[in-house]
Symmetry: none
Subunit: 206 residues, 2 copies
DNA sequence: TCTTATAGTATACACTTGTTCACCTATTTA
DNA sequence: TAAATAGGTGAACAAGTGTATACTATAAGA
């Protein structure tokens, strides 16, 4: 990546901003208009320079300016689950207290939901009381995965291990002991794919 | 939002996917081609239906299809900053490696950006190597805030304290000592408002 | 039965858009 | 000094693109 002139940098910023706001890139003439350049060829020179320096790419046809960076801007609405009521499936509408739009990489797969953590059993994994976890709904897990497990109707977050026929749910807290599950009323609700910590005032994601 | 027909749903998905891959939406004829519709007006009918049902909006000119749910006002595109190059302002385009849409509560204010953490100096605050922090750009801070500080061109994340005239940058790691800053080349880039931990495969938010 | 919505074909047209070419002026570099 | 780079103007043109119109056909509802 070579250095940009002040003008080129301004124009690149405008293209990014325009695209971010509108969802599609500006036309050459719109760029020219924004910078009071009176001829489309004037703006084109800048675009060509930005392409040459590796900041932009061009497709065929109208409005096909493309930033070299990858834009992961698919957004999916993800339900936020409140206190899980006993006997009601975790994703049932009764448990949903809100919805949050999350980007693709934070909401991979289809059955994704958000839970707020109560308790300190996973502090050593960086998951603290009040944090939100993004959970990918699945019924299986591999050794070492952090999972949301339902034991006798109560949801709990632990690290999952299977040793032969017994399943061990391991807290990440030196003051707490692992839970050994022997096929009681036990299901895996999902796997934790990311953690969101709110440090602002209300500590709320909604 | 009214229901979509199977065909309309397919076409909406294609538009979203195309835009996600290319950075700009498809033209009417490209949509027609993809679905072996032999006339542009055939594809246009579907677009009109999707607009009517509230899933798409149209601008003026070529390739100005806009997905309605991507750009609801409670989502804001937030730049992801790569390695901060010396001498270049942290938010300059040269440092930006991508963009991620974040919900309102995760992107409050205007000058918000995302940084990836290098190092373990804040582990006791639940901020670990590889985590992403959402930073609200501001030049001041209050005692106890976790801030991104620039010292001699290097960006560092620490807890901020001011005692009289000296500023103390406190790591959250028992193995590290606090840094005392005496008004050298020191600026605050922003305050950390949330932390995003990626536990999935690639640990990448992009 | 009539109406509406969905889905598609074919043709035509106007406007948007990208691009090229010639020409101009500074500033920087070899 | 000559050459390259950056920045800009103006006119003209070809291709891409959106849209309108007319026509056909099927399925669902009132």
């Amino acid at each position: 990546m070579r250095n940009l002139t002040k003008r080129q940098s301004e124009i690149l910023s405008f293209i990014e901003e325009y695209r971010s706001i509108n969802g599609y890139p500006p036309s050459v003439r719109e760029i020219a208009k924004r910078f009071s350049i009176k001829s489309p060829s004037g703006a084109k020179k800048h675009i060509d320079a930005l392409v040459k320096k590796g900041y932009l790419k061009r497709g065929k046809g109208a409005r096909t300016i493309r930033g070299e960076r990858f834009y992961s801007d698919n957004v999916r609405m993800v339900p936020v689950i409140g206190k899980v009521a006993a006997g009601i499936p975790i994703l049932a509408v009764e448990n949903v207290i809100g919805e949050v739009p999350l980007p693709e990489k934070l909401s991979e797969g289809k059955e994704v939901f958000i839970l707020q953590i109560e308790g300190d059993s996973m502090v050593n994994a960086g998951i603290e009381n009040g944090d939100y976890i993004v959970v990918k709904g699945q019924q299986t897990a591999e050794n070492g995965d952090i999972v949301v497990a339902i034991i006798d109707g109560d949801a709990t977050v632990k690290r999952f291990f299977r040793k032969g026929k017994t399943i061990i749910l391991q807290p990440e807290n030196e003051n707490m002991k692992p839970i050994e599950v022997k096929r009681g009323d036990f299901t895996i609700a999902g796997k934790v794919i990311s953690v969101i910590k709110m440090l602002n005032g209300k500590h709320s994601i909604l």
